[in-house]
Subunit: 422 residues, 2 copies
């Protein structure tokens, strides 16, 4: 886990289960198989937390030192557990092998520790209670760690949990950069500092959405819920239709539900996004109910043949223009015979930019029923954006913003994100 190639996913799983029972994770530490480092981390963790969870380092080899380090630090003698030896021997025998001698180390148990059964591997886990604190030693492979940790949570941690709970709400915001969210949010959450239960705020920006996390901790769940509801309402009033979800849904889920509830279908015409917007939409299970088709019209030919974009339009305005985006959205909608059409054309970079049409400039058009009613004809909305970042970011921003524009058009909200080119 200290190499450049290993992503730590166990800690996400552990965090989720702990948060669910109101346990806050205050720190995560990754160290090598080094007794000195490990012991120093363990001692610091014990000093500041009530629960310390190890994952990994329980294997049979000499570089697996977690068991010994923890026992030594707590001053617990170790002895071989005949039950574990028995299970290990049977496990190997089932494969027609004799247990290698090295595996004997996995049967060493510190005095007073509870052995956690591992049906999916050789390393049993350990649970130690010391000075009112809990220490869990879990194996590293996720398929061994997960069921073991789940049982530990249900049988031992949940009953000890303080009764304190952490409640969290996530608002996801489109069309504003991080600082323009902060500008609006800061005066609001500054007022919450004096209130009880106290609400913590975190702002997270990614290429596309900005997330506003509100959380509160305590035991009076009803009061906490009510406080969070009030807080969310205040933010919602301030940020209006820029908030696309209050319940952790992705933009593609939100758009999918808007389409589904209207019984409408969508067709997309993508150029610079290369299929990314449609791929996002189809990440949602059941999206085949409302995604009819998409055309990735990378060439001018494809725009003309498959979307009916007039060659004169391409000639007069260039492929990256509001006129062509509009023609793409309309062509996609009409040819697929669906209610909603999207056209995306832009310059993803790194090359292809000009002073007039720089890298990051993207035109997005949405064609949809006028005033939300199919019999009132169709209207087209088009905007030119200027997104920051490299090719990958421009693609991600463009796909996200196109889906957000569909959302805004469907709910009748103004289409005026931060990224619009002045």
């Amino acid at each position: 886990m200290l190499t450049p190639t290993r992503l730590d996913t166990n800690s996400l799983y552990i965090t989720e289960l702990l948060n669910n029972i109101g346990v806050d994770v205050v720190a995560k530490v990754i160290v090598g198989d080094d007794r000195g480092e490990l012991e120093s981390c363990f001692s610091q963790a014990l000093a500041r937390a009530d629960l310390v969870v190890f994952s990994g380092g329980l294997g049979p080899t000499e570089d697996d030192v977690t068991r010994e380090t923890v026992a030594d630090h707590l001053g617990l003698a170790m002895s071989e557990d005949p039950d574990i030896i028995d299970k290990l021997e049977r496990r190997f025998a089932a494969r027609g092998w004799k247990m290698p001698e090295v595996n004997r180390r996995q049967a060493m148990v510190p005095a007073g520790a509870t052995v956690l059964d591992n049906p999916n591997g050789t390393a049993p886990g350990l649970w130690i209670e010391t000075d009112g604190k809990g220490v869990a030693l879990l194996p590293g492979p996720p398929r061994e760690l997960r069921p073991m940790f789940e049982r530990l949570v249900n049988e031992r941690l949940q009953p000890r949990a303080s009764g304190l709970r952490v409640l969290r709400r996530v608002l996801k915001i489109a069309g504003r950069g991080e600082s323009r969210v902060e500008e609006v949010a800061q005066p609001i959450y500054a007022r919450w500092r004096e209130e009880s239960p106290q609400i913590e705020t975190t702002i997270l920006a990614m290429p596309g959405p900005v997330e506003l996390h509100l959380s509160t901790r305590g035991s009076d769940v009803a009061a906490m819920d009510a406080a969070l509801d009030r807080a969310v309402d205040q933010m919602a009033t301030a940020l209006g239709s820029d908030i696309f979800t209050r319940d952790s849904r992705s933009i593609e889920e939100v758009v999918g539900e808007l389409l589904r509830s209207r019984g409408w279908r969508i067709a997309l015409a993508e150029s610079c996004t290369g299929g990314l917007a449609t791929s996002r939409l189809t990440d949602v299970a059941g999206s085949s109910d409302y995604v009819e088709r998409a055309i990735v019209a990378y060439s001018n030919n494809a725009k003309i043949e498959l979307l009916g974009v007039a060659p004169e339009l391409l000639q007069a305005h260039g492929a990256v223009s509001e006129a062509v985006a509009t023609a793409m959205a309309t062509g996609a909608r009409e040819r697929a015979n669906v209610e909603v059409g999207v056209g995306i054309t832009g310059i993803a970079g790194p090359s292809g930019g000009t002073p007039e049409k720089p890298v990051g400039m993207v035109c997005i058009a949405v064609a949809a029923p006028n005033n939300g009613a199919v019999d009132a004809g169709y209207a087209t909305h088009v905007r030119t954006m200027r997104f920051p970042g490299n090719r990958e970011h421009v693609k991600a921003f463009s796909a996200f913003t196109a889906l957000d524009m569909v959302r805004r058009v469907l709910i009748g909200a103004p289409v005026n994100p931060d990224w619009i080119k002045k």
Copy 2:
């Protein structure tokens, strides 16, 4: 980064660059935006390491506390840097905005610190030398952190490093699961244990490729290079055309270069992947030279109208069938008038599976010039796969495998990956 949803990727990048100049990473610590926790970690890190690198917490908002915490702990006064203010103001002005007052915090610099320019964002980095040790404060977003850290390594860390180097080679493998790579690789790398310089091996599996990492550490770079070359050759002989790159390229880059070198263009017809294969292909800069178009034919109608799939074929075999995949590939190729066509149709799940056509079953077809020559007519290659995992995994596996099939067809390699349905 302490929530259940945020994967830490910055530390991998930082580790890689540090390893390259022979610097070992002894610990990684993740803490919240909490001054107490942060200060306690900082003080411990300073005690045991020569270099401490922070990422994140330099934003404009009140929960960004890294700058203040580090300055306080080192007893350094902070003052506003007029140059930073100037850059920030110009950055906002370029977008037609006034700098929000909150961004002023980003211009605070501890006494004696060097400001690290951030061309990709508002937060400048900081470099502080203290008691012969180095402390780097870097912004969290990868596209801001990476170029800044690269410069820091080249200009300040490399000259201070020990001279020991870590060299690494990465082989990327398609069409084999992790254990089928290990089966072939293990007898080879077992032999390396006795050799010097010693080569370490790591196998990493993801939804699609499997990576084989070979690394060695020492000071004799020529001998290390030669040893790695020999090792790579032995693996390449054993794994043959399943290796799609020896130099860290992605499958979409490899396919792009094969198309470009032949002057060929490609058109895709995607169903269950929803545009993901085309989005991957167009992640590569310059891909508009060879990606002509794609049709995301989610509905049967779209398959019939846009790809010329015969309704009788859909009726007789169902949309997920080798016959329909083949018709999609051929239709895409012919209608776009290009050399290579791809058809992907499958069941991404979670619903829609049947005992005969279960979730994860995907048919992939590639139509391309016979024997690599355009004048020899066209041939179609089709396979039915069975991929593991959830909707996201099936999409990722399918898009990856479709691109790998294009690669195999273009280089005349056998199309027989592990995932083929028996």
